[in-house]
């Protein structure tokens, strides 16, 4: 039986780096937009303001939209991934044995990772465990064996019969 670890420190570090780069990009774009608008305002006179107003507003809106996009599409995702990976790498692990089957129940946790439910059939009761959807491809669709969990998230598994 071969144990498969779903979480690695390298992935956590990559997520941290993505988060840092996204933050830098957000600050750079935001600062550039603000400076550009401020410089344009310096050229505002009663004659030029009618032309400058839509330009300044347009630059501000566009730079702000880029920052917003980076914050939720890149920074937010990277932060959620890093936080999750740190939790999984440092948390106390509990080993559970039984039959496991991935379900179609996939949910997105607000400010967190996307979670797929995994059904555990064991005595005395069945239960649903959580699986980070990004790791779903690493887990067989159905198997018997043991899994290590942290806060009900599957962190590693060992399938019966693996060579």
């Amino acid at each position: 039986m071969k144990r498969v670890e779903l979480y690695r420190t390298e992935e956590r570090d990559r997520a941290a780096l993505r988060k840092k780069r996204a933050k830098t990009a957000m600050l750079a774009v935001g600062a550039a937009g603000l400076v550009a608008c401020a410089v344009l305002c310096c050229f505002a006179t009663r004659k030029t303001v009618a032309v400058l107003r839509p330009v300044v507003i347009g630059v501000s809106i566009l730079s702000g939209w880029v920052v917003i996009f980076l914050s939720h599409a890149v920074y937010g995702e990277a932060k959620a991934a890093q936080t999750h990976d740190e939790l999984m790498l440092s948390g106390e692990r509990i080993t559970v044995a039984g039959s496991f089957e991935k379900t179609d129940d996939v949910r997105r946790v607000k400010n967190g990772v996307t979670v797929r439910k995994v059904r555990l059939r064991s005595e005395p009761r069945d239960m649903l465990l959580n699986l980070n959807e990004e790791k779903a491809a690493l887990l067989p669709d159905a198997f018997s064996g043991t899994v290590e969990t942290v806060y009900d998230f599957i962190a590693a598994y060992e399938a019966d019969g693996d060579g």
């Binding site: 305002c41 303001v49 107003r53």
Partner: protein, 182 residues
């Protein structure tokens, strides 16, 4: 990706509205001229080309004045604040009495040769349109006949203006320039 953007659509809309309001206000502050450095003319005339008139009057400014603003007003926005702050007023004759308390007397000599609005022995306004006498100043900015027909129109001076003879006289200078426009 589209779903992510749609989930955060409220942030995009909020930022767009906030940007428009904020930068409009900032640009207004950047271009606003202090009342001491401008002459404001309020015109009770719809159809006035206020931008062109303002630009023309601003071509030859009295000392210390940066611009001449021309604004239209209706009875709804002819608020006490506007009455108190305006330097010059273009008023059709039928409204002259209603707003008379807002106008200051002027020196007759400043507008010798002009038809003056007189009351109690004092001159308060200058006639800028009188079809019977062939008076029609600034015709390229105002279609007098279409707007007023046979009714006269007068140029009055704000009672609280800081640009009359008791001040720097800028309103008088601008009024003289206005009466010379064709």
């Amino acid at each position: 990706m589209v779903k992510k953007i749609l989930r955060n659509a409220h942030r995009y809309v909020f930022w767009a509205v906030l940007s428009a309001i904020l930068w409009t206000w900032i640009l207004m502050l950047c271009t606003e001229v202090h009342p001491r450095r401008k002459v404001v003319l309020y015109a009770d005339l719809e159809g006035l080309d206020k931008a062109a008139m303002s630009e023309t009057l601003s071509e030859d400014l009295p000392a210390g004045i940066r611009c001449v603003e021309v604004e239209r007003f209706t009875d709804q926005i002819f608020s006490p604040a506007a009455v108190q702050s305006g330097d010059l007023f273009l008023i059709p004759e039928h409204n002259a009495e209603a707003y008379f308390d807002s106008f200051a007397p002027i020196e007759r000599d400043a507008f010798s040769g002009c038809l003056l609005y007189e009351r109690d022995g004092e001159a308060y306004g200058v006639c800028v349109y009188d079809p019977a006498k062939g008076i029609a100043i600034a015709g390229r900015f105002i279609d007098w006949e279409a707007l007023l027909g046979q009714e006269r129109c007068w140029l009055f001076f704000g009672v609280n203006s800081g640009h009359l003879d008791s001040g720097d006289g800028a309103a008088i200078a601008v009024a003289k320039r206005l009466t010379e426009l064709d």
